[in-house]
Symmetry: C2
Subunit: 382 residues, 2 copies
């Protein structure tokens, strides 16, 4: 084509970082990509280079020496202007947390009816060990208390669009100030400084909550009476009835997505594969929002008529703080005489919430919250 | 028949209270009954006489003057022996809470395959305004703190079986000590002393949690390293895969039910009814456990092909403390030319959890957690 090999300085994405070639790219500008299923559950903790990447804007190139995080003070208190060294002085907290994009598995919704959004398959989810300062400690230093239980903590990224509008999102103040909710201002990801694609030098990590609130390249924190006025808080990342279309949608009628519902997917075998007869190994992940633990994964080899209980691997999670996924597997005989199998998985969390059977009744115009049973069709080698 | 009109003193149920004739009785001894659908959603707060009743044992007849609640003290602290007057001295707390039996809607599971349990229809759920002392205040007075985050608070009822075994259950200490969880030792129900069937003089109310933990006729509270050893905590009120039967069940493999999943049902029209053509009004209830608010109810008149959003009535619930149900209704034209309608409802909570489409994949041997879409088939008058 007509693309110049020299750096196009008018291209705001020209300075984006290099990415791992194994990633499946859903969008180059902004960069959005997911690991392929066979890599996704190869490790309990996802290696940084293949952690799913969801960018809304060009990746800022921030100098760690001059980086400052502004924290607006409570009435009567001074605001904070924190360097990285200042942030390191807060007690360091380390937790393993799974992040999931609200649009994970959107491609299955698209098969029902067109939606607006990136074509994520099952890989818009990954797990890392995050380390940083606790948001509650930083907010306390700025004088904030839970005086208004309905207030919100607003985050602004240092990524911005050509008009200068930054990415933004918010979470309830009650969650931000609750030490048990373990909200972090993370500066490490799996023992390394955050990669640029994941928010270098500082991002928010909100365990159990949709990825969209884990603001990257964090520049500013403030406590407000209302949710962030950001487009991504108010006009996106909300769920609606399948009957709602772009002519009738009222974004104010639905709450912003915070905690996510129970989710699972099969990473092995993959759709369309041919498996050997004899025994089949089915593998996948399962996770739920809000710190709810996955207590069981059921797998069917016959399209949902009968079910077998999978073995849960990975780390047992603490009650109320089950922030990370469980990997699971099932080894089972291939039913004899079958030329194909319809494999399904469904997870149950510790509130005994389950996934819905089918995707059409949860279809929504933005294609978010796609958590129906995951189905994989395979052929059996003769 | 052969029943004697004189009091049979060998019958432990002979002293049970009189009940309201509108209740649909599922079992007389012990007494278990639910209000009919048309009464269930007539009021946002269920009148005491028709509040669903789930007794496991005969109703004790307790004297309020000699009643004592024993609270085992923390190490180094004295135990408490509280009269009703002592309990009244704690700050009085009042909240509206929906209680639901784990077996609500079990009769729909029975239609798939036999289960062990009472044949509850959609009425094993009701709402009351409860008042009493906060459990966290009483535990604090007995010296308890959240020193062991994995400990449990065990409750014993004063109801017991012929061998002297009392009803018992437990909840995590973390919930019991969290003032935001609002666990009550209730002595009032809708402004009245508790009726005998609902625990006179004192019962536990655990907002957002399955009815089985709301121990009635409360006699004893202790803090233990483990869950209650009661049959009802350890060998009942747990969920299993549909593949598990009574020969293979391992009760230790599943967590006790605490928070319940999202639920809804249609109370009007009722299954088999004939409705007028023109316009139909569909009414029902929706609720979710763990303080999660119901944010939407979808109703289908065509068996799930298309959906309309119902209007939510009743009191808007606080975030994280949505303890009570929402009643809802939809007024919609009856699709012309239809001789019958398959009406369905499904609810969404604020973690965007949804109900599963069908009941067979959530079937379990005890018939608990029956929360699939509720379906009602009606005829349209010509
Ligand atoms: Mo996202
Ligand atoms: Mo129950």
């Amino acid at each position: 084509d007509n693309v110049s090999p020299t750096l196009d300085i008018s291209d705001p994405y020209a300075n984006d970082p290099k990415r791992h070639p194994a990633l499946r790219v859903n969008s180059q500008r902004p960069f959005n990509a997911e690991p392929p299923p066979e890599l996704l559950t190869e490790n309990y903790v996802t290696p940084n280079p293949i952690f799913f990447t969801r960018n809304h804007l060009p990746v800022p190139d921030l100098d760690p020496d001059t980086y400052r995080l502004h924290v607006v003070g409570a009435p009567g208190h001074q605001s904070l202007c924190l360097s990285l060294d200042d942030l390191y002085k807060f007690s360091k907290h380390e937790i393993t947390v799974t992040l999931q994009c609200a649009g994970n598995r959107r491609s299955e919704m698209t098969q029902i009816k067109e939606v607006k959004g990136l074509e994520w398959r099952i890989g818009a989810i990954s797990t890392a060990c995050w380390a940083g300062a606790r948001l509650c400690d930083v907010l306390a230093q700025a004088g904030h208390q839970l005086s208004d239980t309905e207030a919100h903590v607003c985050f602004e990224g240092l990524d911005c669009d050509p008009t200068g509008t930054a990415y933004g999102a918010s979470i309830p103040l009650a969650r931000a100030l609750n030490p048990e909710a373990e909200v972090l201002l993370a500066y490490e990801m799996n023992g390394q400084p955050l990669p640029r694609d994941h928010g270098f030098p500082v991002r928010v990590v909100v365990p159990g909550v949709v990825g969209a609130r884990h603001v990257k390249w964090l520049g500013r924190i403030s406590v407000e009476a209302e949710e962030s006025h950001s487009h991504w808080q108010r006009r996106d990342y909300k769920g609606f009835s399948p009957s709602v279309d772009w002519d009738t949608v009222d974004f104010d009628s639905a709450p912003s997505i915070q905690e996510l519902p129970v989710q699972s997917a099969i990473t092995e075998p993959q759709d369309g594969e041919t498996i050997e007869s004899g025994e089949v190994t089915v593998k996948g992940y399962a996770w739920s929002g809000g710190g709810r633990a996955v207590i069981r994964v059921d797998v069917s080899l016959d399209g949902g008529l009968t079910w077998q209980v999978a073995e849960l691997d990975g780390e047992e999670q603490s009650p109320r703080k089950a922030w990370a996924w469980r990997l699971w597997q099932l080894q089972a005989p291939v039913p004899s005489g079958k030329k194909e199998l319809n494999i399904i998985c469904k997870a149950v969390d510790d509130s005994y919430n389950v996934q819905p059977d089918t995707v059409a009744p949860i279809w929504n115009l933005r294609g978010v919250l796609s958590n129906a049973w995951h189905r994989v069709h395979v052929h059996v080698a003769p």
